[in-house]
Amino acid sequence: MRLELRGITKRYGALVANDGIDLTVEPGQIHALLGENGAGKTTLMNVLYGLTQPDDGEILADGQPITLRSPKDAIRAGLGMVHQHFMLVPVFTVAENVTLGAERSRRLGLLDRRGMRREVRELSERYGLRVDPDARIEELPVGVQQRVEIIKALAAEARVLILDEPTSVLTPGETDELFTIMRQLRADGRSIIFISHKLREVQEIADVITVVRRGQVMGQRPPTATDEELAALMVGRKVVLQVSKSPAAPGEVVLAVEQLTVPDDRGQHAVDGVSFSVRAGEILGVVGVQGNGQTELCEALMGLRPVSAGSVRLAGREITAQTPRQRIRAGIGYIPEDRQSDGLVADFSVADNMILDVYDRPPYARGIALDLAASRANATARVAQFDVRTTSVDTPAGTLSGGNQQKVILAREFGRDLRVLLASQPTRGLDVGSIEFVHRRLIEERDKGVAVVIISAELDEVYALADRIAVMYEGRITGFRPPSVPVEELGMLMAGAVPATADKDQAAGESA
């Protein structure tokens, strides 16, 4: 199927999320849609999948205009979508999930389980997906769950597959497998729209690359285009992210983690005997593929998740059993991974959010009475200091843009005297301007003598900020490296392959 988008425009109020986007996907083509977070890729795909209606423009399938009012229409038109977060029922089997919504039944309303299983097996074999139709979703690794999503789309006879950031949850190995599957689908004459913000992957798999920025198509390039060219189109300027910072001047050890073991929600060891230390005035970057224990590590350090073994010490004092509040008082700052759910109370004003963890201390509280004037004064000063774009300090924080929400959190955390800063995905989903701002502030904290731990999925970010890099894989730290380490080596560590020199380096990393 030849899919054509003509002049797709989607506005949210004054904001133009998609601005006259033209895109043509030929049959049997892997068409990459490259752009930063917030460039308008997802909006475009939601338009294409009938989740939202465009204000202008038309969609053509094989030259015929089609109207997509709901995902149902999109599926009927031969479109299939694999979402970033999978839409699977964890307690159902693969076969049940694949036929969900299109259940086949026999007489008396009985489900045709055998037919369901056969279909899954056929599709799975045909495209080398290797999925057991009887496995329960919750027991499958993420990569396989993704393949189930693909089978789901294929079972609905999708001729154009939309993959929304499919590699963000995968290990490098799983990514390779996914690419193999994508090539097979292409050979079968199906088209794929591959959404990504990762240059290397796009260059590897795509036939055509369309770059989107700020809701507009910036250009189309062949996969042979250089990194610099694509990056320039993506961010709209030649320079790639680079933070100017002086060399670290590490002081004494502030945060010392010893053989820390943290169970996840199912009781498995999410963090498995991790040891490291961070000195005053240095940044430790923790990298790894999502879901290898970084989140749990951070929560455990903050006291939000119980620890089953090991110890955490802050400037020599044992804090393993302390509550989050005690840790906050002791000078740990926390920038949570998910700012919407853990960092802010969306309904609260900017001013209230800026005192969320100090509301019960002077000057914001006298006894149990809140001093709203002090809170407002604080918020007004910090809004100016951190350049938070808000109409007033009384505006609900939930109405701010992501970058400004993050600034509110930074303003709050940096407003206290910190000794340790835990920053988890500090720039996720932010625009370039905000990223630079956050990076600069993180470096400033380091230079003030704070021990900073940054957990990030963005290698570029860790390269730019960290003085030391720790790589996590399956709950363990597979190595410490200086920021001069080549990407390939980090990639290997992230995939669990421990190079021969690892032990020596780990020792070096711990003593550093």
Binding site: D164, I328, V345, D352, D357, T399, G433
Partner: protein, 443 residues
Amino acid sequence: MSDQPTAAEPPAPPAESAKQADQDNSGQRPRLGRLLIESIVEGNSVVVTALAIVTAIVVGGLLIAFTDPTVLNAWGTFFAAPGNAIARAWGSAAGAYVAMFEGSIFNPHTVGAIFQQKSIGVAFSDGTVSQVFNPISETAVNATPLIFAGLSVALAFRAGLFNIGAQSQFIGGALVCTWLGFGVSLPPVIHVVVCVLGAFAGGAVIGWLVGFLKAATGAHEVIVTIMLNYVLADFLAWILGTSGMRRPGRSDLISPLIAGNAHLPLLLGSHLRVNAGFLLALACAAGVWWLLNRSTIGFEFRSVGANPSAARSAGMSVPRTWIGVMLIAGGLAGLAASAVIQGTDFTLTFQSYGTYGIDAITVALLGRARPLGVVLAALLFGALHAGGIAMQASTSTPLSVTTVIQSLVVLFVAAPPLVRGIFRLHRATARGAGQSLAKGWNG
């Protein structure tokens, strides 16, 4: 949907992001300006609430008219005399509502009665003047326990808890209050205060138990409170049968009368029932407002209610907050018992708790879980009840019509789209307290 449509948030240079400051990063909420217009046009809470009340009264009027046998007879001959049918329907509904108004707010006949007395002095002394204020007094008396119990539910709701257990907390408060009322002998003012504090403590213990069970075991407060309602109701029936609580010489389940010293002082003389409990209720509403909006404790309550995981990350203890808020909420429901026992009934029966537990939920819902809203909603329900009794006495309309009207008000408030549909108001924002209260069930 795959995720939040972050696509709507383009990387904007600083100059432009100021314009987008009011733009949610999910990109799907309307801009601030539009929100403002909407909230004025549809008046998200106030206008919808007012229209819900109007709608309920209209529907209630139809109900009154079409359950009246004389009206139904008239409709039987509709084609012969359509005017008669409509007039009778109007007459029936209007008569009922006039009676309700006279019973709850102001009855002009009572003013006329003053002039039939020999002199103003006599009118004052024999209570004729008081009669003018009787409807208002009755409204306040009926509203008082509803204010307390409504505050209880509203406060818990602001911390994200759905307190279905105002009834059990009422009973807890009532038991302590009654026992202190007849069991001990104290000087006038002190006895009142002790009983009021006892009622608060009795309710607080039951509320604390709910919070503790939720915090310690994760038991859902809806289940716990509902079950405790049964437990306490049966406990009440049992203990009223024991020698310690039964009124001597009575075979039914009723406690001894509380001492006169423990009665809440009357506010407007001996002919009117309105008492200090009403003022205490208003003071509590103000107190709850202060607690919620001006204290660190309320800040915790609201944080935990609005986003427990952010509250936790900010160092607040969510379980401790649950226990604290249920303690206070329970105490408030206990005070509702004080208003009934020390204010009007002076005794405890196995049915003293009435329907306060459920009414409290509807009051809190109608009041949008805000103290002022609770007071207004309780006054409305108090007026409906006081007026309903007068209506039943002077017309053939049964008291249960008021219950229907109350239910309709809540139904319409809980379903803002319905009201907006009826009155063709602007598009709905899914932010009404109706939804947010309903959301509590999932919490």
